[in-house]
Structure formats: structure tokens, C-alpha cells
Symmetry: D2
Amino acid sequence: MAYRKIINDPVYGFITVDDELVYTIISHPYYQRLRRIHQMAMAQLVYPGAVHTRLHHSLGAYHLMCNAIKELKGKGFSISAEEEQAAKIAILLHDIGHGPYSHALEQVLIKNVSHEKISLMLMEKMNAELSGKLEMAIDIFKDDYPKKFLHQLVSGQLDVDRMDYLIRDSFFTGVSEGVIGYDRIIKMLTVHDGELMIEEKGIYSIEKFLVSRRLMYWQVYLHKTVLCAEKMLVNIIKRARIVNAQALSGAFNNFLHKEFKEEEIENHLDDFCMVDDYDVLSAIKSWALHPDKILSVLCKGIINRRLLKIKYSGTIIDDNVVKEKTELAIQYFKISNDEARYLVFTGETGNKTYSNKDEHINILFKDGTIKDISEVDNALINQTLFGTVKKFYICFPNMELL
Amino acid sequence: MAYRKIINDPVYGFITVDDELVYTIISHPYYQRLRRIHQMAMAQLVYPGAVHTRLHHSLGAYHLMCNAIKELKGKGFSISAEEEQAAKIAILLHDIGHGPYSHALEQVLIKNVSHEKISLMLMEKMNAELSGKLEMAIDIFKDDYPKKFLHQLVSGQLDVDRMDYLIRDSFFTGVSEGVIGYDRIIKMLTVHDGELMIEEKGIYSIEKFLVSRRLMYWQVYLHKTVLCAEKMLVNIIKRARIVNAQALSGAFNNFLHKEFKEEEIENHLDDFCMVDDYDVLSAIKSWALHPDKILSVLCKGIINRRLLKIKYSGTIIDDNVVKEKTELAIQYFKISNDEARYLVFTGETGNKTYSNKDEHINILFKDGTIKDISEVDNALINQTLFGTVKKFYICFPNMELL
Amino acid sequence: MAYRKIINDPVYGFITVDDELVYTIISHPYYQRLRRIHQMAMAQLVYPGAVHTRLHHSLGAYHLMCNAIKELKGKGFSISAEEEQAAKIAILLHDIGHGPYSHALEQVLIKNVSHEKISLMLMEKMNAELSGKLEMAIDIFKDDYPKKFLHQLVSGQLDVDRMDYLIRDSFFTGVSEGVIGYDRIIKMLTVHDGELMIEEKGIYSIEKFLVSRRLMYWQVYLHKTVLCAEKMLVNIIKRARIVNAQALSGAFNNFLHKEFKEEEIENHLDDFCMVDDYDVLSAIKSWALHPDKILSVLCKGIINRRLLKIKYSGTIIDDNVVKEKTELAIQYFKISNDEARYLVFTGETGNKTYSNKDEHINILFKDGTIKDISEVDNALINQTLFGTVKKFYICFPNMELL
Amino acid sequence: MAYRKIINDPVYGFITVDDELVYTIISHPYYQRLRRIHQMAMAQLVYPGAVHTRLHHSLGAYHLMCNAIKELKGKGFSISAEEEQAAKIAILLHDIGHGPYSHALEQVLIKNVSHEKISLMLMEKMNAELSGKLEMAIDIFKDDYPKKFLHQLVSGQLDVDRMDYLIRDSFFTGVSEGVIGYDRIIKMLTVHDGELMIEEKGIYSIEKFLVSRRLMYWQVYLHKTVLCAEKMLVNIIKRARIVNAQALSGAFNNFLHKEFKEEEIENHLDDFCMVDDYDVLSAIKSWALHPDKILSVLCKGIINRRLLKIKYSGTIIDDNVVKEKTELAIQYFKISNDEARYLVFTGETGNKTYSNKDEHINILFKDGTIKDISEVDNALINQTLFGTVKKFYICFPNMELL
């Protein structure tokens, strides 16, 4: 009998693994570690269901890759067994380089090294262990493989990563409006001159996809309470460094208190794989009792969900407001102006619905013409939406909760 | 024990009826007749699941009305028990005046009288039977009741009619992308100066709602095959009149071959209520064997799903194309030029995503300001979408199928 | 590009047709006629969503057959391309012989000929038209094909017919408790000595399947109001015969007033295919005004949903009760005792959860042993459930509604 | 405007909190701590979606309590506003006393004190803080309140706790067959002589509920891999005690290495609330490098999902098999016979589908009679299912993985 494992997934029903190399990768400790990294960082403080993991998301993206390849092969595009396997592995491993609380702490815990770079380092390491079997997967991941559409399925405007996270995040948060017609989009995929495109009939599905993403950004990923908690997390790390607070776990301490250069990371990959959300949250729990008032206030805030207050604004926050809130914090906590900046701070965040400047979503019409989704007749997604929408925010202590 | 019936609904789970007058109306033959009128006319030829009825839709809209009123009362807006009952009845009966195949044959079978007018006539008749108990419901339906938001819940940009048909139609067609976040929209409803509005937090849900509607129009309601079948239906009625084809049912014959004026309809309401999709489809089945070639070709087309071919175009159909197709039909069927117009015909159809010229969707901001959904910051729904998008079509015999 | 059509299905998402012969069959008028036969006869009077058609169910069963075959091939069982096509066609056509209101009028409209026999006649006819291309499909349907498991997928304890109707009927009624884990059951299918079996891991899913079926029978198929309406339908046919009431449609009249022998049916197949739910309901609508009081009462009852009252009982209905109700009907309607039997009648209905006397559900254990589902350790489905559970009923006029 | 918060829940859509005291409790650090205790302990190693928390489950059970009370009030049963609030609080807090990995480590980390006892201690403590506002909730929880059905909704055969965990666990695992018709069961609830019962029409739903629970036990809660991982967890705790391994967190160390008596717990409640899954998993991660081979093997097993092998058997495990596996372990790991018992061990587990010896599920018939669900006519749940079904297991190192 053929090799075959099925995994229950509440989103897709069943995920089938029918390739031994794929199973070997899933079983690897580097991959299993993704069980301990939440997909959505602090979003669970607003959406209690949003506790799913990076491992689950990667498996889901792998499932969509299987579907997409099956569909494209069904339409007559040539994809060899080896290419199929490589594309599946590339998507399985695309997030392997994420650190604790992924995006929320990216570039904070390890400065100047993106998670994609670390993913690549880990893939290379696994490739060596597996005597070169990941070669083609790595090429696809790096966009060095001639059939460009395989890379675009891994990373691009219509990649299966994005599709899975939108579906999965809306599923687990319960924000049902974020649901996209992933199965229809996959059925509309096509290839033209080696590039991934969408058939004409899929235009409305793509519009809907972009609008769902827009909604998920503003309603979930950039939900003000979620943003506030994630900024508190960043400030906790920064403050812990300043006051030299020790984490319970040695591996975490390394990354917290040392600053590695990109080229040094490669020598600490095993250490890196020891650190996950559990270390960070355990540290925060212990720091809730830390003598440094700033650190303990922030940590208690996260642990007991007594968050700072946050206000969003369409325009930059007025200096006077910042001053006033800072004064109050200084008086209340008896801290210096410098210290108050951990509790009263401003920033900006933003998202763009679509832009035709980056990678395009191309529609392939029946007559052979190709148009960007923003240029089809009566486009919903038009130039007025190309700019990044910025929101400004200020966070400050919620005196009622203190 | 209180009066209480529950009805299973695949869309909402259970619909509860806990008011005897409401139950009396549901049990009335006029209402039960809606079981025999399909909600989506010929859409089932493309979407086999789309066989749900007007009765089911009305019950669904009633359910949403119950939810909406509960929500508004929960927010502290005053709605009396009598108003609540009246609003529920108004929505239950809003479609009671639909004839067979509803929109597809509206203004064809009965010229110059909209279904809303007939709905009103039937409500008045039921009101007389029920000794005036429907008075307030009728006022709400006609927008004569002071609390304007009650009418807006029955008929307006955000009415529960529209919400139910979008949800229900996407449910039964399986076009899952049409799904709207109806429960969230209902939770975002509010009232300001007697008008129905949406809270600021609901902006993205409303955008999504409009985009879902846009998608449903182009992908389902105006799907070219659906449109083609519905235009064939219209031509069947027209041709039957010309060749004086008799329907099997007497009541249907009346409306088919006589032409009533608006003021005459009132005297034929019982007859009107005898006619439904079953009479029309039975007639079509019998006419498939009618000696008139035109009529029989069209009727066989509907019965056996051998439809005319249809082509959509962004521009008006070229006269030469029409001539060419007409010639072919004339030769093939050995019919006159006039007759060929039943088989080869052009037309236009259209839909607009939103326009702020008609009724508005107003957003009530926390600071008390009110903005049209197309005027909020970074609106997805903007002026570029206000115009009606037109599509032109030509239908003609599919020679391969003949 | 390969041949490929996709059909939206609210139950499974998309149904893919990628075989031209299959598409030819779907396009055949015999098959298209199934659009006009409701899957669940009168159940829609209780469950307003239950208006789906036999065509939709057949497509669904076809979809599950595709899945089942893919799964079995994935497990290494040999199924040739021709066998695959034949099995798919056999399931597509398994219900083609159903008459109007299918089970509710089976053996009533055409006596002594089951719908399976008519299905076979129609298949033979189509086979002749299609120059023998349905040969193997017919063999599988008749269980004349050596690979017995292919027939068992079409008709047996675990066939895809049963799976689809349970899922689909629970979906459209909204009785969500009837939902079965069809995808898991399909993943647990296996073949042993040419027979279809279930892997050990699937035991609980099968138990659940049988319990869901049990629930669907008592809660839906044999729901007392549904049963009552269907018995009224039978009595309408019987009464129409007695009083020689004419239907509007000639084809229906043929079957109503003539009595064909099995061997005669073959010569009237085209006529048979002209008759569907639309003829019957149109006739009933016209008979609501029929001078025969009995007929008109029954027909009005169906049309306006003013049904007879029905009572279920665990024991046979007491003669005195029958007499009393009959007396009341005689007096009220001024009819004879014989006539009253159309309005006051008793009967029994029943269902068995499982019996190991008919075809078995066999479990294949990892160690190679085979056990009937009722004989595995700690079986939920045990001997105490083997008998047919009977319920007795009496129907009689509901005086409150008259 | 009234007090009103809505929380997105993927299972029920929205959970509404419209009572300030309820919100105060939800905001309490004791309650927020439940975010850090997984509902299903190690089940996530088999079902990657099963990472939902005790907090989420408690909120869900609270939601069902709101529905159940609304339904019962709708049926005319008297429930005062105070009772309603108290019942909601009782269910919110019913799991507050769970320690890390809840059931998996119950009676292991803290011997001889059930989580219910600790829940009660914590409620008393919160009651004192909130000046007695939880008095009635505590009475209901302890079954000291006269309206017994309120306690039965919190804890009993049909409590909302059980309903929520079955729905939620099947939702998050993706074992869709575990889904129960909770909304129908709630609609069938009734009260008779102060006791919670089910209306006659609900019999099949209850059968389905018991079968779903049966399936969830064997397929999920007692899934052999889940059980194995949870037994490894227990052995980790035991071994850590023997070798005096220190956890990173002080609070956890207290409970790990000290043994509190029941009466002492009360003085350590705040400490108890400091310990959660994060401490245990962080400790395990650190112990994966512990010099004690046994401890490190077990810990690595959990962290990297390289679990012991487990075999289930219907009969007690043969001593020879145990000896053989033990020998192998002794040789491979070079450990003593005593030590080998952490890696090679046997046990039994079990579940019963229903028993009428414990609390009953009573059906209230229309004629006023009451029957246990196992005694209704043709009961699916009958005496043959009353006993506890036992399964025996042996766990031992998987030599292939080492």
C-alpha cells in the first residue's frame, strides 16, 4: 500500500501527506517547534479563538499547494513529480525561520535579519542533513527556479501562504467576513509565459479576496487592542534589555541580551530553535514581579490583560496630548520622563489594499490579453486605493484600571 | 405555556414564531402560495441548488427582522410591542405580490404593475379579513409610519430583505463568496434622528456587503446563462400570445391572454394567487410539442436545458453580427425575419455597485458626525463606482445543439 | 486543454465533470427531467428548505463516487479508467427511473414496477442511443460485474447514494444532526476479496452514520406531518381515479387512468419521462375546485397546507377511535362511510436501524479478521436494534382548520 | 445605552456580555489565567487545531447558559434576574480551579484535591473580594440552591459545560462527527418538579448526543497517541521529582517538589494561579537537556513529538510482552529495571456510553410520564452499553525513532 497519512484540519477537513520526504520534514524538530509559535501573536487577547500555530498554518498552506498543483496539472500545465514535491516542501518550510511571537517581535529580538533569511538558513541546514534533497525546494523559495509560477505560489500576490492565513485566521478568530473563496481562486489559477495568472471568470473572486484582506487588516491584524498589546510586547523586550532583566530560559537570554550579526546567526541556529512563545511568556510572567516598575507594569498588563489604552487617529498625534499623558504617567508611577516613554508612546501603522507598483495580479482574458486587476473594466480596485492608508496611534496608561 | 413554533432553516438554524397573528399570516393561502414561486427563477439551470422558494426567503427576512429589532431594543431604542409585530408582518408580506418566476416575468405577465403594488393590494385584502390588524404593518410598508427606520428595515439600502436574499441565494447556489456578515451588520445597526444607520465599527462590514452584492450580481443574478434562460422565458410568453397558445391552467390563461389595467387587478386577486411557477412550467412542457416551431424550440430549450447561446460584450452588439445570426436562423428553421427575432435578439443589462444618489448608507461616527459610506476616509466604495455598469448581449441558436 | 466543467454545489463546494460521456449523459433530456422531481416529496411542507431535486442528488452521489474511487485507487486497488467511468455513470443514472414525487407515489402511479426497474429500462434505451457505451455501467448497476465492490458503491449498505442523500437532505432541511462524516467514511473504505469494507479505525464513524440515518428517518422522512401529507397525496391519486378526474397534462392522465403492465412500460418510456412533480401539483391545484368534495378537500389541504391531523402510536390504532373520527367526518362532510376512508385512515410505518440479515457492513481489522459492525467489541449497534420499529398512525380531518 | 460587549467566537458567532459583574469576573486575573491552560492538553499533538484554551471553553459554556435560560424563560419557567446572573457566573467559573494541562495532570501535580475543590476555593476568594456578590453562584455550583435545575445546567448529564466542550473540541480538532445539535437540545430542555428534563421530541437528539460523546472519547480524548503523550507527561513529573529536577519557574517548583495537603492549598492559591501550561512546557524544554537520561528522553519526546509507541488491547497486557520491551529498554538505554518503568509501562483506560446508575437523562413525555433515555421504546442506548468499556495499553520506546 502507498504511503499515506491523514491529518484532521477544521479548516479543510483532512490534509493528506502521501510523500515520505514531506513526512520526514514535518517530523523534524525544527518543524515541530512551530507548534510553539502562535500564528497571530497577541490577537488572542481580542479574539480568544486565535490561538492556532505556525505549524498549523504551514500545513494548511501545504494543503492548498497540493490543490493548486493538481488544478494546474489538470489544466494541462507540465509540472514534474520532482517539481511538485519541491514546491510542497518550499511552502511547508516558508515560515520555519519565525521567532517567538513572529511578526510582533520580528526585527526586535534579532535585529536586521528577516524571518525569510533565517528560513533559508534553516532550509540549507536541513538540506545538508538530508543529503541535498531540498535543493530544488530552496531554488523555488529563492526564486531561482526557471518555472517562475512555482515561486509565485510560494510567495506572491496570490500565493497559498496568503490564502491560507486569511482563511485560517478568519476561521479561528470567528471573523467570518474575512473568509475568501480559496477553492474558487485555485480553480481560476492559470499560467501564461511561466507566470501565475487568474482566468477572466475569476475577477470578482479576486476583488473579494482583496477586500477580505483589507477587512482582516483593519479589523483583526491592526485592531487597536491587538496592536497595543504587541507594542507593549516590544517595549517589554526593550525595557528588559535596559534593566538587564534575566529570562528563565538560557537560550532566550542569549537572543535577548546579545546582539548577533547576520553572519553570526548561522552558528546559533540550534539555539534559535530553542526559543519560542513559551520562553517569552514565561519570562513576562516572572517579570510581572520584577523590581523595575516599568517592566512589571507592562508585564502584568499582558498577563492579566490590563492593557494600556490606545487611541487611533487619522492624523499625527498632537504633541500636547502626548505631553499631558506623559505628565500623568510620571506623577502616577513616580518615574522619569525617559522611563515614561515605555508607557506613553505614539506610532503609525498602515496597510494598502492593492498597488500595481509591486507585484501584479494579472488577469488572463479569453482573447489572450492580460490586464492588471486594477485595470479591468469597471475595476473595484482602482487607483484611489493604491496609496498606503496610515493610522496614527497613542498608547498610555488606563488610569481606571490602575 | 407561551405560543411557540420553531422552523428548521439551513441558513439560520431555527426560526422561531412566537406570535399568533404572525402564525395566522404564515398559514394563509396567499402566503403558502409562495412555496410555488422559486426565489431565483431560472438560476437553477446553472446552480442546481438554487431551488429555494419565496416563502423560505420571506421567513428568513422575518427572522432577521426579529434579530434587528432585538438588537436595537438592546441598544435602548424604543420600539413598542405593536410596532415590533407590525414590522415583522410587513417584512413577511413584502414579496406576497410576486407572480410566477417573479423578477424574470415581472412586467411581462402583468404589464405596468409592479409586484410591490400587488403586494400592497394583497395586504389590504388580508387586512380586511383580519379586521384591521395589519394597519400598522401596511403603514410601515408604505413608509407612512413616523418611525422611518422601521420602513428602512423593510425596504432600503440595508433592509433585511436584501440581507436575507444575499445570504440565502449564496447559500443555496453554493457561491460561498456571496456570504455577508449579516449578524455583524445587524449588531452594528443604530438609529439617529429616526433613520437607520451603521456604527463606525461597521464600515468594513458594509464595504464587504456591497462587494458581495456586486459579486452576486455578476456571478449569479446576471450570469449569462441565467440571463439567457430568463429572456427565453420572456420570449415564450410573448410568442404564446402571438400564436394564441393555450396554457393548461385557466387562471394562467387569463393573465396570459387578457391585459388587465392596474385598477382591474384588484378584482382578480384570487385568480392571480392561483398562478405560480407550476402553471408556467407545465405550459412550457406542453408547448414543447406545439406546432409553432418558434414556441416549441424555445420551450424544449428550457425543458431540456438546451439553451440559446449568449455572448456578453462591453459594447453594443454589432448589427452585422445580428444580421448574420438571424440569417442562419431563418435558413435553418425556415422562418420569417420577424419570427427569427424570438431566437436571435440583443439587449443590455446592468448593475451599479453603489450610488449616493439614491438612498444612502449612513455611517454614524462616535463623535456624532454622519457620513455616507462613499465619503468616509479611504473609502473602498468611491465615485468611480457610482455609474451603472452595462453589459450588452446577443442570444442566438446554438447550432451544435440542434 | 482537458475537458472540464465545474458545477457549484452548496454541499461539496464544486463538482467537477471531466469526462465527455458523463457530460453527454448529464445533458440528456432524461437526466434533465430529474430537475422536476423533488428529492424529498412533501417534506418541504415541514422543512421549507427541502426543495432540492433528484438531479442535484444524483450529481452529488456522482461526486462522492469520484472521491471513493480516487481513495481506493490511492490505496492501491486496481480500477481501470473504463471501470471508473462506468461506475460514475451507474451512479449518475441510479435514480433516473423515479416518477413524480418519487417514493411517495412509487407503486401507486405505476403499480408493481419499482423505480429501479424503470431506471434499468431507461439506461438500456440510452445505451442503444449511445451505441453501447453504457454496457459496463449497466452491468455494475445490475451487479453482473465481477468487481462486486463497484456495485456495492452504487447500491449497498455503504453506497454513495445513501451517503449523499443523508448529507444533502440534512443540509437542505437544516437538520444538522443528520450530518454524517462522509469524507471520513470514504477515507476508511477498503476492499477485501472483492467486497467493500471499512477499516477498523472507521468503526465509530459507521456507528455515527447508522445513528444519523436512524435520526433522519424518525425526525424527517417519517416525520408525522410529512407522512400525513404523503398519504394525502396517495389518496388524491386514488380518489382521482375513482371519480375519473382529469389531469391537465395528457401524459400524466395516461399513467393516472390506465394501468400498465411491466412489459408495457417499455413502450411508454418517453411518455413516462414527460411526467413529473409539476404535472401532479398542477392537477392538484385544479382539483382543489373539483366538484368531488373528497378530492377537493384533500387537494386544498396540500395546496394551502391545511393538512389532516395525524397521531402516531406505538400500538395499533383502536377501532373505536377510527369509528369516532369516521362518524365525525361523515357528518361534517355529508359523505358515505366508504368516502370517509379517504379522510380518516390508519396505517403503519417503520424503520430498522440495522440488521445483519440483509447486506452487512463489514469491518476489516488490522489483523485480517472481518466482523459485522454489530459484532465488534462493545458494539453500539447490537441485536436489540435489529427488529423493525413500527409506528401506527391515524389521519383524520382537523376540525379546527375547517 | 446599556452595558454591552461582544466577543467573536468561531463556534457561536458572537458571545454577548451585557452584565457588568460578569465582565468584572472575566477581567479578573484568575479568569484571564485560563488563557494559558489548553483545553485539550496533549491532543494537539494529534489534532493540530486543538489548541483552544479553558478561557474560551468557559466563555462558550457561559453563552450556552444564556441561551438555555432564555429558552426556559420563554417556556414560562420562572427564573429571576438574580438567579440568571448567578447561573451564568457559576458556569463561567466552573473550571477556574484547573491546573496546568488540566485533566492530564490532575491529581498528579496536586494530589488528592480535585479541580472542583480548587474552583470552589477560588470562587470563595473572589466572593470575598467582591463583597459577597457570588454567594448565589456558589450555592448553585455546590448544588445548595433550591432550584436544582440551575445546578444541573452547570453540572449534570446535560449541562452546558459538556455541550460546549463537545462542540468546541470537535470544532477545533476538525472531528466534525463529534458535532452535536446543541441548539436543538437547548430548545428541547424543560423543567419538571425542579429537575432538568428533555421533551419527548428531543429523544433522537439526545441519542445522537450520547453517540457523539462516545465517538469523541474513543477517537479523540482517548486516542492512543494522545493518551501516550499524556502518560509521558505524568512520568515526566514523577521522574522530575525523583531526580529533583528544577523547573525554571519558582511557583511551579513549589507544586512540583512540595506536597500540599488539601487544607494547605488555600494559603497558596495565588501561587497556584501563577502556574500554567507555559511553566510546564518551558520546564520540559529545559529538561530535554537534563543529565538524567530517562527525563531527557521523555522530555525530548514531547518537545519534538517523538513519542513512545503505544499499543491498545482489549485484554490485559501479557507479562511477557512487558518483560521483553523492558529488557530492550534496559539494554538500549543502559538503565536499571526500575528506571525502565518510566519508558515501558502499562495501564488501562475506559469510558462508558451511558449508565442509568449515575445521574439520569430524563425524558418528559407529552402525557406527563417520565422515562430514562435508556428506557424509552426501542432505545438505542440500552443496557448492553451500561458497563465501562476498558482498553488496556502498553507504552514502550519506538526503536525506529531512536
